[in-house]
């Protein structure tokens, strides 16, 4: 049963991601991205990371994707604004190289995959409490530094978006 759900969610995730990059209509692409996030949330649940799965749904599928949709609709892109393929060769090269990378990853997974250790999880793994604890003890520095990252990103967004005051 577990295996069945995993295969279903994994296929859904990959298929939705493929749809995201092949869809011409950006709104559809975003909707497929939401589906991909939901499929990945299921994978997180299977890994006992319940809290991360909930965050995945609330933050990514919920908040961020709504922003994406808003912006795409505000921009009101027409079909012809996407432009054609100027480098048809590039597409083939990209597909070929991506396939090569995927092939390598599959080989490694088949070769080494069975040897991955099964670690017994601690009591409250994946709970809000344990994640909070690890964020404020072991991962205190990256956690705090992320606030600097957000500050830099906000400053950058304001600089690029505000209207020009001189000239």
């Amino acid at each position: 049963m577990e295996m069945f759900i995993f295969i279903l969610a994994a296929i859904a995730s990959v298929a939705c991601c493929l749809m995201v990059i092949t869809q011409k209509n950006p709104v559809r692409a975003v909707l497929f991205l939401i589906m991909a996030f939901v499929a990945q949330a299921i994978l997180f649940v299977q890994l006992s990371a319940v809290f991360v799965a909930a965050l995945q749904i609330i933050v990514y599928a919920g908040a961020i994707m709504v922003l994406f949709l808003f912006i795409i609709m505000l921009l009101n892109l027409r079909k012809d604004e996407f432009g054609g393929d100027r480098h048809p060769f590039q597409k083939f090269a990209a597909v070929a190289l991506a396939a090569l990378l995927a092939f390598e990853l599959v080989i490694v997974a088949l070769r080494d995959g069975s040897r991955s250790p099964s670690v017994s999880l601690p009591e409250n793994f994946g709970s809000v409490e344990s994640i909070g604890e690890i964020l404020f003890t072991k991962y205190l520095l990256p956690f705090e530094a992320t606030s600097i990252l957000l500050m830099a990103a906000i400053l950058g967004a304001v600089v690029l978006a505000k209207k020009r005051l001189d000239d």
Binding site: E104, D112, S116, L149, L155, G156, L160
Partner: protein, 482 residues
Amino acid sequence: MEFPQIDYVAILPEIIICGLALLIMLFAAFLPRDRRWITGHIAWFGIIVASFAVWMNWGTDTRTFAGMYSIDLFSSVLKLIFLLGSLLVVFMSENYIRLHKLEAGEYYALIIFSLFGMMMMASAADLVVFFVGLEIMSVALYVLAGFRRSDPKSNESSLKYFLLGAFATGFIVLGIAFVFGAVGTTSIAQMFDPQQYTLANSFFYLMVGGGLLLIGLAFKLASFPFHMWVPDVYEGAPTAVTAFMSSGPKAAAIAVLARVFVVAFGQHITQLSPMFWSLSVLTMFTGNLIAISQTNIKRMLAYSSIAHAGYMLIAFATGTAEAVNSVVFYLLTYTVMNLGAFMVLLVVEGKEDGDNEITSFTGLGRRHPFLGAAMTLFLISLAGIPPTAGFAGKFFLFKAAVAKGQIPLVVIAVINSLISVYYYLRVVVVMFMIDTQTEFRPVSYPAFLYVALVVAVLGTIVLGVFPTSFFPFDIPLLASGR
């Protein structure tokens, strides 16, 4: 629940730099528009204070934040290089911002944020810390590249850099995930420790993770085949930002490459060596051969920076501590001479937009001998001709490589240096041998830019003549910890 021990004295430089960025933002918000140039002075003053803090911690050898942050000689030396580079860039920018009417406060704040990210990368003893540092550095740079918002080229530069940089970030995250899956930790020190290493000894996963990490880092380093973005981004970005981009992030990427591939994966460095070998050779040839055909000086310097990334990779094909030490010295010399070349470019460029053709240097040497002489010095240093800093940098690097038996690689690197002499000296020829009939465009003499220029000239000469008296060549690569 136990909070980790934090050594506040050891991380004082980071605290100062971080506070400095926030302080500049506050000043930018409350100062009237015509007095925002003050933020530039706060910036350089703060950088000097932070440099003293690094100096104060010189002998420190410790890991703090639950072992995630390593303050040691290696990171201190790199931090001084970053601080020096940023200081010169702040000096260079003062006049540029005035001429192009850029928002001074935001500009300096982003430069300082980027500097903070680099310092985190230099001290990171854990892949998660390295990743956050990388993102802070990159996000600030993406915005800085597009800082001239009315210039479509600058917009293009920013967008290209952002999209490709975000793509590279994806590889780095996937790489970290694979490495974690293979060894069960993200800590660089624990990966190095053989006891921890056998936890889940999955060599192939580790190599896949390492390969993906290398792709992301090679992008930041501008190494072949991830160099395509460099010329367009460098050309479009504001010149002062291009100078910053071509020195700082490269040095930070080298620091992480050293910590990850020479320290953490140290046991496998002989297996990794051929990969770095071919990357290095291809990068050198790509950079040098394409640079020959460039007519725009910013694009030429962009390809030259790709070529220098190739020289730097020699250290990782060699993989010894000595090679890494000499590549850090190389970074110092590259920072000084490369920023110097960009300073002259800034003076010559003046207020003109986008005219960076090599022909705009025609007659510079005759009309403005100091500028011409300085540019010549930087260019022959970039080409690696004695007695300049560039020669000393290459000398120690090649020496370390020969000591490990990488003679064919060094021969190829020397051939490449000879190729590079051609396009560097072409600028010198244009400056001195060809005289303009018309008067050379009047050049302004902004004080701060000239201070920076004099520092760069002195640095290029002194590092070339007395390299060993200013640089410790026996830096251990990771704090031993308590």
